[in-house]
């Protein structure tokens, strides 16, 4: 399995950043960065990463079961993560979440039929002073209102 030249260079550098023999340290970053490129964690990717870091496949599986950002299923091209934790909840985070569900016709961790959007209700994303907030893939959107969310969804739809 090969990755883009950029990612290959990053991996090579990364492995050298952990003590000799302890390259397993690179496991979680490697999985996340690879997932960004492949869209999901596949069996092939697990094999590849375990080979490159000389770790057991089960050690990779162990980590996959723990970290919420690593996922084996394919998600929408735009994975919208809406925060409903306290700071967001106080200023309309839950309303925003329900609005998004109805707008897209999907629930938590579901993907639209066209594969364009997926939704996830997430815990605090560190945007509390600019709440309510959401993340589209890795882009933060702050002080979001239902109207702003509608506009965002429309503009992302237009991008395809």
């Amino acid at each position: 399995m090969t990755f883009s030249a950029e990612l290959e260079a990053r991996f090579e550098k990364m492995i050298g950043q952990y003590p000799p023999g302890r390259q397993k340290g690179a496991l979680i970053p490697m999985l996340l960065y690879a997932q960004d490129e492949t869209g999901q964690i596949t069996d092939e990717l697990i094999d590849e990463v375990s080979r490159r870091l000389s770790v057991n496949k089960v050690e990779v599986e162990e980590v996959l079961g723990y970290y919420t950002m690593l996922h084996r299923e394919r998600r929408g091209r735009h994975h919208l993560q809406i925060c409903t934790n306290v700071a967001c909840m106080l200023v309309g985070g839950e309303e925003l979440w329900h609005h998004a569900c109805h707008k897209l016709g999907i629930g938590n961790k579901q993907t639209t039929a066209d594969g364009q959007f997926s939704l996830e209700e997430v815990e605090c994303i560190g945007a509390c002073s600019w709440a309510p907030a959401l993340i589209d893939n890795y882009d933060f959107h702050l002080n979001v209102t239902p109207e702003k969310l509608d506009a965002l969804i429309e503009s992302l739809r237009g991008q395809q």
Partner: protein, 440 residues
């Protein structure tokens, strides 16, 4: 860049280089022009003992939440150990309500690098990692660029500024776990494992990253160090209150006219902070309660907040300064719903490693949900308190305590709301209207 406004009452130490609006991060040329890396140049002339002594004098305490004296922590590391010594930055900002570290890293990434360098020099370390939560991907890009600049200009790598000393630094991403903000779980994650906490002792100072002596500090703690070295520990200590030196970033959120991240001296009056910096409670409503240090901290009612916001005063008031995340609640907030939401978070984030927390948070979440829906029984209210009490101090890490403490305080201080809700009284904060979902 994040929208942030200055406030005339701020005391600017960490934010001294910020401009408003700050269009780009402060890259190395601008950083050097504004006293940047002067702290490490000075530290290179000092002995490790003198650096630690200066940090001790500053009475700097950990800004992540626990408030442990930083100089003391650094002093625990055996500098002459034959093992490598490591520096780890906890940038896994996840405590609900907290959004300060990102402001520092986004605007002034080199300040963090400089703090790491000084800490590295103090414990005779040659390597460090900045552990950043996965959601902050854009900050990894900013920090990677800043690290590259520092390597190119001889502030990282071999023979730093001709001193013969080597220090390497890199970023390391998390992948979605609140628990990894706990230092020993963070170290597990850094080693490529599940973020389960370690049994302590040994503490990281003896056996940390890769079983070597390590110091783990919060982003803001490292960022304060260059100014301490440059201006002296006594100067920094003088900015705050006794045993609570310096300034800190506060994240104001919730029902305020002007939420935002501000830098204030430690010991600033909490009530004034909300009124002067936060612009008071929004919509002309009355204040009901304040969560002063992230969702783990016990809640304070409106008449308990006329106190200095420092570690000791808040502890005396039965709460904690925590991560400086101040969430303000107006009179319309349904406290049962709040207690439920807080517990839902901890139940979701419990790593499952030890039973009191794994089972306790899950059961509490169920009971609080039932109470929130108004269908519980009165006995449940007492049981929530008892179950929380029995979780306190009985878990591997502080997550169990973090879940129990706010819950105990909410039940204690707002018991009448739990009772009223069970009696079928009006729900204060209306639940959002929901319709059945159309699943495609």
């Amino acid at each position: 860049m994040l929208f942030n406004e200055p406030h005339p009452l701020e005391v600017k130490v960490l934010t001294k280089r910020f401009e408003y609006p700050q269009k780009d991060p402060i890259w190395i040329d601008e950083f050097l022009a504004k006293e940047g890396y002067a702290g490490i140049r000075k530290a290179l002339e000092m002995t490790p003992e003198a650096i630690i002594e200066e940090v001790k004098k500053s009475s700097l305490r950990g800004r992540g939440g626990a408030g442990f004296p930083t100089g003391l922590k650094w002093g625990f590391v055996d500098r002459n150990s034959p093992k490598p010594k490591y520096i780890v930055v906890n940038a896994d900002e996840g405590e609900p309500g907290t959004c300060k570290d990102r402001v520092l890293m986004e605007n002034d990434p080199h300040m963090l690098i400089e703090g790491c360098l000084i800490a590295g020099r103090a414990i005779n370390s040659n390597r460090g990692w900045i552990y950043i939560r996965g959601e902050y991907r854009y900050l990894i890009d900013i920090l990677d660029k800043a690290i590259e600049e520092a390597y190119a200009r001889g502030y990282l790598g071999e023979n730093i500024q001709g001193s013969g000393w080597t220090f390497h630094l890199s970023t390391h991403t998390g992948a979605g776990s609140y628990e990894c903000g706990e230092e020993s779980a963070l170290l597990e994650s850094l080693e490529g494992k599940r973020g389960n906490p370690r049994l302590k002792p040994p503490f990281p100072a003896t056996s940390g990253a890769f079983q070597c002596p390590t110091i783990v500090n919060n982003v803001e703690t490292y960022c304060a160090v260059p100014s301490i070295i440059l201006n002296g520990g006594e100067w920094y200590a003088g900015l705050g209150t006794p045993r609570n030196g310096g300034t800190r970033m506060v994240c104001l959120s919730g029902h305020l006219n002007r939420p935002g991240v501000y830098e204030v001296p430690l010991g600033y009056n909490l009530k004034q902070l909300i009124e002067e910096f936060g612009g008071g409670v929004w919509k002309g409503r009355k204040l009901k309660a304040v969560i002063p240090g992230g969702s783990s901290s016990p809640i304070l009612t409106a008449d308990e907040i006329d106190i200095p916001a420092d570690y000791d005063s808040l502890a005396k008031a039965g709460s904690m300064l925590g991560s400086g995340a101040t969430m303000v609640l107006d009179e319309t907030v349904d406290m049962v719903k709040l207690a439920h939401r807080v517990m839902k978070f901890y139940a979701h984030e419990s790593c499952g490693w030890c039973i009191p927390c794994r089972e306790g948070t899950a059961w509490l979440e169920k009971m609080l949900r039932r109470l929130d829906e108004g269908v519980g029984v009165t006995r449940d209210i007492d049981m929530v308190g008892q179950l929380s009490q029995s979780m306190l101090g009985r878990t591997f890490c502080a997550l169990g305590d973090a879940a129990a403490m706010p819950t105990i305080s909410i039940v204690q201080k707002f018991r009448h709301e739990f009772e009223a809700k069970l009696a079928g009284a009006k729900v204060f904060m209306p639940a959002p209207e929901t319709q059945p979902l159309v699943v495609l």
